[in-house]
């Protein structure tokens, strides 16, 4: 009999980046890298598990921007082009490293992986990876949950309840359009929760969400079981708290598994190491060196000198770490079962992009963990949050505290000197959107298009990624530009309507550039 449940939650998200006005746009590479290194390998892993008859349960949040990009024909075409370039490069790399065994084995690994990625992308799922995730959802292996429509950090948007409701409602609509059903759960953007949000979630049909550990521990009553059992808010929606122990083992780049010296180093890339003319076709068209994804060195240690990466050794280490992780979860479960008198639920959420992108061996590690859980023991069982609630419908009632899983536990990451300037604009836009939604309940076609486009611009401006990037200091200019562009477009449409001087050419251009949520209805802001 199982002594504990383990819920892996993979939060897969990228901001909506799509620039049809440029042939090649730097920031679209975020999407390309995520596809090659995380999302395709995950689908490959799921295929392997099903093929081998391994029972598994994972929870994945696919955010609306990510699903929109995955299913967008322009981005599919651009990703295919990017992938073919990588295939060309991998052939060259095989040739270049043919006399150096230490690097050649890694080149062979990339060759195999990229050809497989092409097959998975082009042929297995017909260039739309959402179909792949949906397939495993329908097999009962994945619980796919939603997120905010554009990953807006809701505690800082709550001054406009209509804006928060729209983020949730539009996300649920998008989820249904892509996956054929309404979501049961939600990954709140950055786990940003505040009192009263549960009512909005409940009204949208959501039945569970996640908070960071202190969201539960600082709740309005003391949680009897800590974070090892969910709690119900007064509206009846369940809140699951993150397990800090399993988080620490994986998240920490130094102390946790990803920092092992045998693993592939994230920073050493041939885009910086090799001859400029050789890598020229595979970096930015302006000649700016950037990462290609071909990395030949392992972390090695706290040293400048990096040893050649050994893929087979890394696999062994990943398997060893998987065993260690499972061992710790078993001990944790046994200990908690003895204390609680029932099986604890250990919630282990991570950014999906941790696996495969930052931690190259991460997907393999996850694969080993899932297989070991299924085949090597029966103390710990993989479970989704919904399955847990069906087994254990009685839980403590508690209002979680306002919190986030961001650095320092609250809102500082998204509200500090680098990014606080955005909020007077975002709030003003929210109020204006509500004003327009109420003033124009039955517009003509052109006006409706303009109002819907205003809603898109507002949503895209609200993406918490921009504030996050401004805070991080990398690619800040792009984040600032995106925020300002959406503010400008929104205001121009707003005043165009107010002054009876709507610029239809400008509207066409906005619709062409910012085409997320084709079926959006601005009246959600009323």
């Amino acid at each position: 009999m199982e002594k504990g449940y383990l819920t892996f939650v993979l939060h897969a998200h990228l901001p909506y980046v799509r620039h049809p006005e440029h042939e090649d746009f730097l920031e679209e590479r975020w999407f390309f890298e995520g596809m090659t290194e995380t999302y395709i390998p995950l689908l490959d892993m799921f295929d392997g598990l099903v093929r081998d008859g391994i029972d598994f349960r994972l929870t994945i949040s696919l955010t609306p921007p990510l699903m929109s990009m995955m299913s967008d024909p322009l981005l599919q075409e651009r990703y295919a082009r990017h992938l073919y370039k990588l295939l060309e490069l991998t052939d060259k790399e095989l040739h270049r490293t043919r006399h150096d065994h230490a690097f050649h084995r890694t080149a062979q690994m990339y060759h195999h992986r990229l050809h497989k990625a092409r097959w998975i992308f082009d042929e297995r799922w017909g260039r739309n990876l959402v179909a792949g995730f949906r397939h495993f959802m329908e097999l009962g292996k994945l619980e796919i949950i939603t997120c905010g429509a554009t990953h807006g950090f809701l505690p800082l948007l709550k001054i406009s309840p209509e804006a928060v409701r729209a983020q949730i409602q539009i996300a649920c609509d998008c989820h249904e359009r892509h996956l054929g059903r309404r979501p049961r759960g939600i990954w709140l953007p950055e786990c940003g929760y505040y009192a009263g949000l549960d009512q909005i979630l409940w009204n949208a049909g959501i039945r569970f969400f996640f908070v960071d550990s202190h969201g539960i521990l600082h709740g309005d009553s003391r949680p009897k079981y800590g974070v090892y059992a969910p709690v119900y808010t007064p509206t009846g929606i369940a809140a699951f708290g993150r397990d800090y122990e399993s988080s620490k083992q994986v998240w920490s780049a130094k102390e946790g598994y990803p920092g092992d010296f045998a693993y592939r180093d994230f920073y050493r890339d041939i885009g910086f190491d090799l001859n400029f003319n050789y890598v020229r076709p595979y970096i930015h068209h302006d000649g700016i060196r950037l990462m290609t994804g071909f990395k030949y060195h392992c972390i090695t240690g706290k040293t400048d000198h990096k040893e050649p990466y050994d893929p087979w050794l890394a696999q062994e280490v990943a398997a060893h770490h998987a065993g260690n992780f499972l061992f710790n979860r078993q001990k944790q479960s046994e200990h908690l079962y003895g204390l609680m008198g029932k099986a604890p639920i250990i919630v282990a959420p991570y950014d999906a992009e941790l696996y495969g992108h930052w931690w190259f061996e991460g997907v393999d590690w996850l694969n080993y963990v899932v297989r070991k859980i299924a085949c090597d023991q029966d103390t710990v069982k993989l479970l989704t949050p919904w399955e847990y609630l069906m087994r254990h419908p009685k839980n403590q009632m508690l209002e979680p505290s306002e919190s986030s899983w961001g650095n320092k536990g609250y809102a500082e990451v998204w509200c500090n000197g680098t990014n606080d300037w955005i909020y007077r604009h975002l709030h003003e836009m929210s109020f204006c959107m509500t004003e327009m939604a109420r003033n124009y309940p039955n517009p003509d076609d052109n006006l409706k298009r303009a109002l819907n486009q205003m809603a898109r611009e507002l949503l895209l401006a609200q993406s918490s990624d921009w504030a996050f990037i401004m805070n991080s200091g990398t690619m800040v200019e792009y984040a600032v530009k995106r925020t300002k562009d959406h503010i400008f477009r929104f205001n121009k449409l707003y005043w165009g309507i107010k002054n009876y001087a709507l610029d239809m050419n400008f509207l066409d251009e906005c619709e062409w550039k910012d085409n997320i949520f084709p079926n959006i209805d601005y009246r959600v802001y009323a």
């Binding site: 202190h214 920073y267 706290k302 001990k331 403590q396 320092k408 990398t474 690619m475 300002k484």
Partner: protein, 327 residues
Amino acid sequence: MAKKVVLKDVVKKITKMLNIRKPQEETASKAGKKAKTRGFFGARKKELAKKATPQESVKKIAKVTKPKVVKPKVVSKPASPKPKKAKVLEEIISKVTSSEQAQEERKIEESKFDIGVPHNAEAQPSYDIPFQYHKDRAVVLTVDPRFVFTYWEIKQESIHEAMARLGHRAKLTLRFYDVSATGNPEASPSWDIEVFDRLGNWYLRLDYPEQHLCMDVGMKNEFGHFHRIARSNYIKLPRQFLAQPGPLKWMVVSPDGQKVITDVEEYTDADLELLRKILGPYFFDLLMKGQFASIAGSSLEAIFQEISAFRIPMEISSSPSSWSGAR
């Protein structure tokens, strides 16, 4: 004295063991993290965005340059008591580790936007956005259990109107209300801060978590008469500690959403002991100290002065006898 010597030796030992930060992190193409200073009146927000390097953060907390690597431990029963010297060492490492872990998590989160260049390769012109919206507005946002961010905008006409009532010496003023007790600003203690810009923002450090707050922006003359121009939203700061003991309620929710409170039980010492065993001594200690979520010594703590230095207490006849001072 002997205790101090032991502690010093321990710190020296750690300092020797530690290495300089990985050079490869410096070759990675990341934009320089500039401190942004935006200040406009005394101890307004300063260098909020100043990012400490991992080493500086580490120094702030434990005066060491690098923590000892700690392998993930097997979880079993709570650790048995350790000798005093080792306990001090663990506490220092734990603090450093926690801060470092937050840094490492952030580095991993940021990696999905890291393609090796700190700036966009192409110069991207961005549009001008409005400097103001010609509205009277005040907003308060929660940053963490002790800090709030406020912004305001006041129309020029509104200032003129207020000055016509109060006199030409009236000054632009923010008035904060602690409405925790009454919910009614007019019957709550308050304090004022004079500002100069009709369009501005401010970070405010408050006294205690769970404080209910709202803010008025207005004009005040030399006689203390205040004319409100805009009132903000109401906020309640988050809890920073475990809640006070109280009854535990249990609910059953069916798949179709029907919910029933099935029973209520008293919270006992045994429940607290259970929680302590579940969390383990280290995390339980953090929880009881209010340090579970955030690390002491954050940039906000370090930068801001106590707001009481700027307060002008208001005497309100129906208000509680003491206004919200340091607690």
